[in-house]
């Protein structure tokens, strides 16, 4: 059971937190691992807090619901921390020893001293990535922020391979098989409109993921 990796993704509605979890979980199952993915949100609206959880293991996963004791925490927007747009306070609550935190921010946030001390006490590793900026620069749209965050995750861990991620991305955006909720479907259409062709969308997103791996920087605690 120790082989199970639990990931909590916190962000704002519209950032693709739920979609990122789906892409990651799906990539893991393509590698023959077991994975369960579930979201947690209130009203389905932009900028409202949204969380999603991914469990990945070599063994069968039974546990469900919110991940209270994550090994990895991914923060998709600084407001999750600075404005407390989060279901979990403080944002790193429950983080396991030697856990990893990846925050989407152009520069390190001014975190409280005692929070930093607690993280240091856990031997946690804190990373920053300018995911939104990378999404705009490489993908041409901030809607690729979630894929940039997944790229960041691959820059820090080998949780899935880039190839599996690509396969999973293609499946998610490539066909009409997947049905999202109403609001997510509208966002998908917006995204497809931006890239005219699906193939281009996948290609651009892959570039975002691949490049983002190189832009994660560790913040020494």
């Amino acid at each position: 059971m120790n082989k199970k990796i639990s990931i909590r993704m916190s962000g704002l509605g519209g950032q693709g937190v739920v979609t990122a979890a789906h892409i990651l979980g799906s990539a893991a199952t393509k590698e023959g691992k077991d994975s369960t993915v579930n979201p947690f949100f209130g009203a389905e609206k932009r900028l409202a807090p949204a969380e999603s959880y991914v469990r990945i293991s070599d063994e069968t996963i039974h546990e469900r619901g919110e991940i209270l004791y994550p090994d990895i925490i991914m923060i998709f927007h600084p407001h999750v921390i600075t404005l407390g747009k989060c279901y979990t306070m403080p944002f790193f609550d429950g983080l396991q020893k030697e856990g990893i935190i990846i925050i989407n921010s152009d520069e390190p946030l001014t975190l409280q001293k005692d929070d930093l001390a607690k993280l240091a006490g856990l031997n946690a590793r804190l990373f920053y990535i300018p995911a939104t900026q990378l999404a705009i620069d490489i993908g041409g749209t901030d809607l690729s922020t979630n894929v940039s965050m997944l790229g960041g995750l691959l820059g820090v861990t080998n949780i899935v391979s880039l190839e599996s991620l690509k396969e999973s991305l293609a499946e998610r955006f490539g066909g009409g098989q997947f049905v999202a909720s109403g609001t997510t479907a509208a966002l998908d259409d917006a995204l497809k409109g931006k890239y005219t062709k699906v193939a281009q969308l996948i290609e651009k997103n892959m570039e975002v993921a691949a490049q983002s791996r190189k832009f994660v920087t560790e913040y020494k605690l």
Partner: protein
């Protein structure tokens, strides 16, 4: 739409299956795609909305003959009753406050012997508001006369919905089946689900399998619209009510053998002879599985009982299991502990039953909570 052929239920259930990484809501769509459903009626409520939206897509693709959105849950459940009375196979789904809003319809379905299949995606009810999972509505549903199955996973949900139609439509059963599942923890969770080929579907419903005459203005014994029993306070009306209500309960009893035939035993067990038994239903079982694995690795003698059928209740099975165990722990996702009440109602020695741990209002139950209870009761 894929060309489909109707096959015997067993052939569909035992067909070679393909594994898909899908949500519980999508598992419902895949079950309904293969269920030969003629009519579906929807009304949105989180966490159910997505499933009936997906069933609407099946209508658009041509798998279902009629589909519309009702005015509200009460209208939906009443329309569904009309469809079933008219002799078509019908499906709908709701959850939480939607279940409560439609409540009068459920005992009416059972009383009218309608083989409706409804999926209930449980959520907290509005005091205070939450959209998150909580199984409190199942406590209210216990005495409506409908069969209640509780799915733990998306796989259960897919399997149980397909089988629910066959169980509900047996002449000697012919009462509604509610397939319950925990909102979000199953509906919105992506998991591997094994699914039969899409070119197969259940045989059509035969309305002549109904044990009661078609309900209309002319046919006895119902004649509910004209001269209903309820209008007369005399011996005949009392006797009719008493015998009819008992017959509905007896129908649920007779469902046991079909549940066993199509879903397996009413319970599933792991290490049933253990000193400490965790007894649960729905995703409380998933959390218990995790807790049991930890506990056993620490040397505790812990077993697990998953209750799949809440109505009919596996009274005899539970009585025997409780008799053997030293401690019984009943983790639940609700405030009132209705499953523990049910277990206590059939157990000989109720003092060994721990009511809890509980979480409610949408909280997740960490396996550690169950583990704490195991440690506490082992001292």
């Amino acid at each position: 739409m894929i060309e489909q052929r109707a096959v015997e239920p067993a052939q569909l259930f035992e067909a070679k299956k393909e594994s898909q990484f899908i949500t519980g809501s999508e598992a419902i769509r895949e079950a309904i795609r293969r269920a030969n459903v003629e009519m579906a009626i929807s009304y949105p409520i989180t966490p159910q909305s997505e499933s009936m939206h997906l069933v609407g897509d099946l209508f658009a693709e041509g798998y279902i003959k009629e589909y519309f959105r009702g005015e509200n849950e009460f209208a939906v459940m009443s329309s569904v009753a009309g469809a079933a009375m008219a002799g078509v196979r019908v499906f709908t789904a709701t959850g939480g406050p939607g279940t409560l809003r439609a409540f009068e319809a459920f005992p009416t379905w059972a009383g009218a012997r309608l083989p409706i299949v409804c999926a209930f995606m449980t959520r907290g009810v509005n005091s205070p508001l939450t959209i998150q999972p909580d199984t409190i509505e199942m406590a209210y549903m216990l005495d409506t006369g409908i069969i209640m199955l509780h799915a733990e996973t998306a796989q259960d949900l897919y399997d149980m919905i397909l089988r629910a139609f066959i169980i509900a439509e047996q002449t000697e059963v012919h009462i509604p089946v509610g397939v319950f599942t925990d909102g979000f923890f199953v509906t919105h969770t992506r998991d591997k689900v094994k699914i039969a080929p899409a070119d197969m579907k259940l045989p059509p419903y035969d309305p002549y399998s109904s044990p009661v005459p078609v309900m209309d203005m002319e046919n006895v014994p119902f004649r509910q619209m004209r001269d209903p029993f309820v209008m007369k306070s005399n011996y005949v009306s009392y006797a009719a009510h008493a015998s009819w209500q008992q017959e509905v309960m007896a129908a649920a009893e007779r469902a046991r053998k079909y549940i066993k035939q199509y879903i397996g035993e009413l319970i599933e067990t792991e290490y049933p002879d253990a000193d400490i038994l965790l007894i649960g239903s729905g995703t409380a079982v998933s959390q218990s599985r995790e807790a049991m694995a930890y506990a056993r690795s620490e040397g505790f003698n812990v077993g697990l009982v998953k209750i799949k059928s809440i109505r009919p209740f596996p009274a005899q099975e539970i009585r025997e299991l409780v008799k053997r165990a030293k401690v019984v722990i009943v983790p639940e996702f609700n405030r009132v502990g209705w499953l523990a009440r049910e277990i206590k109602s059939v157990a000989e020695d109720t003092t060994k039953i721990v009511v809890g741990p509980h979480v409610f209002g949408g909280m997740t139950m960490p396996p550690g909570m169950i583990l704490d209870e195991i440690r506490r009761t082992s001292v």
